[in-house]
């Protein structure tokens, strides 16, 4: 069998499948999502026999579903990220009292840092609060072993078991031998067994069950101390100078930190050997089973120690338990850790920090530093630093909404529609949380899954003078949005919910959800309708709009904001990861004025500013430029540029004189103005204008001809004068139509086809870029760094590196 490179999460999935898991369920969340995805992939390949795998609507649903499967006698795997367990905790707390039948393992991924989370909560702490055993791997290999062992433990003690990897386990890879095919175990004893005295939790039963839990935990602690494979997760080693006899220094570590400690200890020993310095004798132990605390193994570890350094991430879970143990046993050792300032109180650990702390603990600080850098050679050996100036000039690069993201249009439309009105914009969890960044500045709050809808209600009650707006994504909507909706309708809260429907769970890697209907088992069920759910939850004003259509979106939001009571706008636009990108847009550098409006309004990462680009209207200001590799052709920027310098889909305009595009924009705007006017005066005008607009758009999509546009303009005028509309609407329509005419008259100056203009801009760009790169391409003199090409030249005949 060839070994495969597997990420920790993939290895966990394989471990569960090899343990005969029959039902796998969870809700996506970084860093846990790849576990369920791997099971689904194995199932789709036909390699995971007898397994059912699903993305449930949320974590609580998943865990309850799995508990049903457990009572029905099969093994179940639950996965989520740390905050997901908060959602599932209602089920967890009680099901531990009821007890499991088929093994029930919860893989809950913690996220020290945090790297992609709202909290740094510690699931080991949660496990002890819930009185559920927890395993804590230090490598992907251990995670794989632990998941298998966890199923056995679960069935043996009829307890749920938590395995708690962290990001650096989940997303680290190593090579594994895994089974090609796996088979789910059949249900125990013919499936569900009727026994209401066990499966129905009641106060009396809970009291008994609590006693059973209290009895089994010490037994499990004993198993952890003395039985394989668990005792191997609590392995101990001794090293350092033997002549000092018994070690008095002890290092206790958990999770990935144990791997950092191993690395740091190796570095210390290597350097000490080089420096001919003795390392004091020490004992090191990993605690792979933090709860219940494996006291007998800990007892063996602490024997004879005078000082113990506890290294762990997140909370001081090992440290606190060690302190309690020490107190109870009247231990004579000092404990150093988070609580004493001897370790980081939060965030991730790393080898560098652990190394420094262990050196200090062992009294080696400063003695090994000379030997710190032992390279493969002394090849120009010295550390390289950027100048301070260059360092501060490095561009910040926080995550941003992707180029072509539909949420950008939604955020922009809401801001436009609000105008000067005061509002509080309540955000939620998902890609759209990134909308809080400059320049969109689209979110004022963000709390937890579904929390935007409900927070907005509190804001509406407390500050009725402000518009209370909630954003929610489609997956989040189904996960935990709906109870908040019914509350708004029931209690009559005046909020507007902006549903950002991108047809996927994007942030975590595009998982399907109830609104898509796709399932991991391959079947496509009828997608649930967000609109129908809103309606069922008492929302009466619901607008749907295309997130990329600025005018339509602004109008939709305006309508919803004007409505008193709960209202909603559903922005539709697929995540860019789901659809094939369209042709990138082109900035016409004959028109771009360099005003930067396209950048400051929407901050699309595909638009940047090149101060060296020149054009007739931008002179030496520079111009905006499009990264063709990133641009998806969503067209939002074309509606933002006040000079209509950005054009969509060059194919549409191929061969057409460039002025047509400007005119078509104006006709479009005229139509949009009329539409807005028509909304204020519902009636025939609204219908005819909307029809005409749709038609005009359709034609623009097919091929724009000057005649067609003239036609449009004429029809606009006809509508404006003939329709029985308000004076205001007629006036707006007339002005707009006149504008359209004017543009048609004015833009006779030939600028070449748009394609030609685009090509010219492109050429200018490429010339500039080539100039920049040219400076670094080897030109024969030996000063300055080599480029790849010159490195080859220099090594010719020497067959070695360029030294």
């Amino acid at each position: 069998m060839t070994k495969k490179l597997l990420m920790g999460n993939e290895a966990i999935a394989h471990g569960a499948l090899e343990a005969g898991v029959a039902v796998v369920a969870g809700y996506p969340g970084t860093p846990s999502s790849e576990i369920v995805e791997t099971v689904a992939r194995q199932y789709a390949r036909g390699a995971a026999h007898g397994v059912h795998v699903e993305w449930s609507t949320n974590e609580k649903v998943a865990l309850e579903m799995l508990f049903g499967a457990s009572l029905a006698g099969v093994r179940g795997l639950f996965t989520c990220k740390q905050m997901g367990l908060n959602v599932a905790s209602d089920a967890l707390m009680s099901l531990n009292y009821v007890g499991v039948r088929g093994g029930l393992v919860l893989v809950v991924a913690d996220d020290p840092g945090p790297i992609s989370s709202q909290t740094e909560q510690d699931t080991r702490r949660f496990a002890s609060f819930a009185k559920v055993p927890v395993l804590d791997p230090s490598t992907p290999e251990q995670a794989y072993e632990m998941v298998k062992a966890a199923f056995d433990l679960s069935e043996r003690y009829e307890t749920p078991v938590i395995v708690r990897p962290t990001t650096r386990i989940d997303h680290a890879s190593a090579f594994f031998d895994v089974q090609e095919e796996t088979h789910a175990l059949p249900p125990l004893d013919g499936g569900f067994q009727y026994d209401p005295s066990r499966w129905v939790i009641f106060p009396r039963r809970a009291y008994e069950a609590h006693g059973e839990i209290n009895e089994r935990l010490p037994l499990i602690a004993e198993t952890f101390s003395s039985e394989l494979p668990f005792s191997a997760f609590n392995a101990m080693e001794e090293a350092g100078e033997s002549f000092t006899g018994q070690p008095t220094f002890g290092i206790l570590a958990g999770g990935i930190t144990a791997a950092y400690v191993r690395e740091a200890l190796r570095m210390i020993n290597e350097r000490a050997a080089q420096a001919n310095i003795g390392v004091p004798a020490y004992r090191f132990m990993q605690v792979g089973t933090p709860y219940p605390f494996p006291e007998r193994a800990i007892d063996a570890f602490t024997t004879g120690l005078a000082d113990v350094l506890v290294l762990e991430e997140l909370d001081s879970v090992l440290e606190d338990q060690l302190a309690a143990f020490c107190g109870r046993m009247h231990g004579a050792f000092n404990i150093h850790g988070k609580e004493t300032g001897a370790a980081r109180d939060r965030g991730e650990n790393d080898v560098d920090d652990i190394l420094a702390r262990i050196e200090r603990f062992l009294g080696l600080t400063g003695r090994l530093s000379l030997y710190r850098f032992r390279g493969n050679s002394d090849y120009g050996a010295r550390s390289i630093h950027l100048s301070a100036r260059a360092e501060t000039d490095l561009p910040d690069r926080p995550p941003v909404l992707c180029a072509g993201c539909p949420h950008r249009g939604a955020f922009y439309a809401v801001k436009q529609a609000l105008g000067g009105r005061q509002a509080v914009l309540c955000g939620d969890i998902g890609c759209y949380t990134l909308g809080n960044a400059h320049p969109l500045d689209a979110l004022d709050t963000c709390l937890c899954m579904g929390g935007g809808i409900t927070m907005a209600q509190g804001i509406a009650v407390a500050n009725p003078e402000k518009k209370a707006i909630a954003y929610v994504g489609d997956s989040t909507f189904f996960a935990s949005g709906e109870t908040g909706l019914s509350n708004a309708a029931y209690n009559g809260h005046d909020i507007t919910v902006m549903v950002l429907d991108n047809a996927t769970t994007a942030m975590t890697g595009d998982q399907p959800h109830p609104g898509t209907g796709h399932t991991l088992m391959g079947a496509d069920n009828k997608p649930l309708s967000i609109e129908a759910c809103l309606r069922a939850n008492g929302f009466t004003l619901i607008e749907r709009t295309n997130a990329f259509d600025r005018d339509a979106s602004v109008a939709a939001v305006g309508k919803a904001l004007d409505f008193e009571g709960p209202s909603a706008v559903i922005f539709e636009g697929a995540c860019i990861q789901l659809v094939k990108p369209k042709e990138p847009v082109i900035i016409n550098n004959e028109i771009c004025t360099g005003c930067k409006r396209c950048i400051t309004a929407i901050g699309c990462p595909a638009i940047s500013f090149n101060p060296n680009l020149t054009g007739p209207r931008s002179r030496d200001r520079g111009q905006a430029t499009i990264d063709k590799a990133l641009c998806t052709g969503c067209g939002l920027c074309t509606q933002v540029c006040p000079f209509h310098a950005i054009h969509m889909d060059s194919a549409v305009y191929r061969g057409a004189p460039m002025f047509v595009t400007a005119a078509s924009q104006t006709v479009d705007e005229a139509l949009a103005d009329q539409e807005l006017a028509a909304q204020r005066e519902p009636g025939r005008l609204a219908e005819t204008v909307v029809d005409a607009r749709a038609e005009s758009k359709a034609r623009a999509g097919a091929h724009v001809s000057r005649e067609a546009l003239e036609d449009d303009a004429a029809r606009m005028q006809a509508y404006a004068s003939a329709a029985p509309a308000s004076e205001e609407a007629v006036a707006v329509g007339e002005v707009a139509a006149e504008d359209a005419e004017e543009v048609l008259e004015e833009t006779l100056e030939p600028g070449g086809t748009l394609e030609e203009v685009g090509e010219r801009a492109e050429e200018q760009q490429q010339a500039l870029a080539a100039e920049e790169q040219q400076a670094w391409i080897y030109d024969g003199d030996d000063d300055g760094p080599p480029t790849l090409f010159s490195a080859f030249d220099a090594t010719d005949g020497e067959g070695g590196r360029n030294d």
Partner: protein
């Protein structure tokens, strides 16, 4: 132990490159660990992949490279390479693409970011050890290849071609064939050849 850090901007393909390196090391019988940036940062943020290889038969414990110990940093974007310099070992080499990727925050600022400025700053920083900085004219090579998606292979080929790591081009060919989707293998092998001129 050989530590290679791959750094760039979310979406540039560092993950596949780190897989290919890991595969090459595995094929040589070394113990390997890698770590990836997955999550929010993939949305156009800075991403880093760590590849650690026990070339002397040693076991790799931590998946993350400690500061000052990367034998090589392969930068898919010059500013990202510059950002990671504290990880470079005192003998380590930086192999960097030339093309800068502007960030939204820099586009909003007064001085838009240009890759060339960073390359100049890097040249300064390496002034005393110029042989430890290799600048890859990625735009020119990608133009030759005719497909911008193979940037990762181009950079890997460059990194191996300078003959600093104990990994050969043959190792690279072999690993590409294992790691890359069958439909793209030829394109990637061709990219290696075109990188080498």
């Amino acid at each position: 132990m050989i530590n290679v850090m791959l750094t760039g901007v979310g979406g540039q393909g560092t993950v596949l490159a780190s897989k290919i390196l890991a595969q090459a090391a595995q094929d040589k019988g070394w113990h390997v660990r890698t770590a990836e940036t997955i999550g929010m940062a993939q949305r156009g943020g800075s991403v880093v992949s760590h590849v650690r290889m026990g070339d002397r038969g040693e076991e790799v414990f931590s998946p993350l490279i400690p500061k000052g110990s990367a034998d090589m940093i392969i930068a898919f974007e010059p500013a990202e390479g510059a950002r990671m310099l504290p990880y470079l070992a005192p003998h380590g080499m930086l192999v960097s693409a030339t093309t800068g990727i502007p960030s939204v925050s820099s586009a909003l600022g007064q001085n838009p970011y240009r890759g060339a400025q960073v390359i100049a700053a890097l040249a300064d920083a390496f002034a005393d050890a110029p042989e430890r900085l290799v600048i890859v004219p990625d735009a020119a090579i990608l133009k030759r290849v005719g497909n911008s998606r193979v940037l990762n292979t181009v950079l890997l080929a460059s990194a191996i071609a300078v003959d600093f790591l104990p990994i050969t081009l043959d190792d690279l060919y072999g690993a590409v064939e294992v790691c890359v989707k069958p439909a793209y293998i030829d394109m990637n092998l061709q990219a290696i050849d075109l990188t080498l001129g």
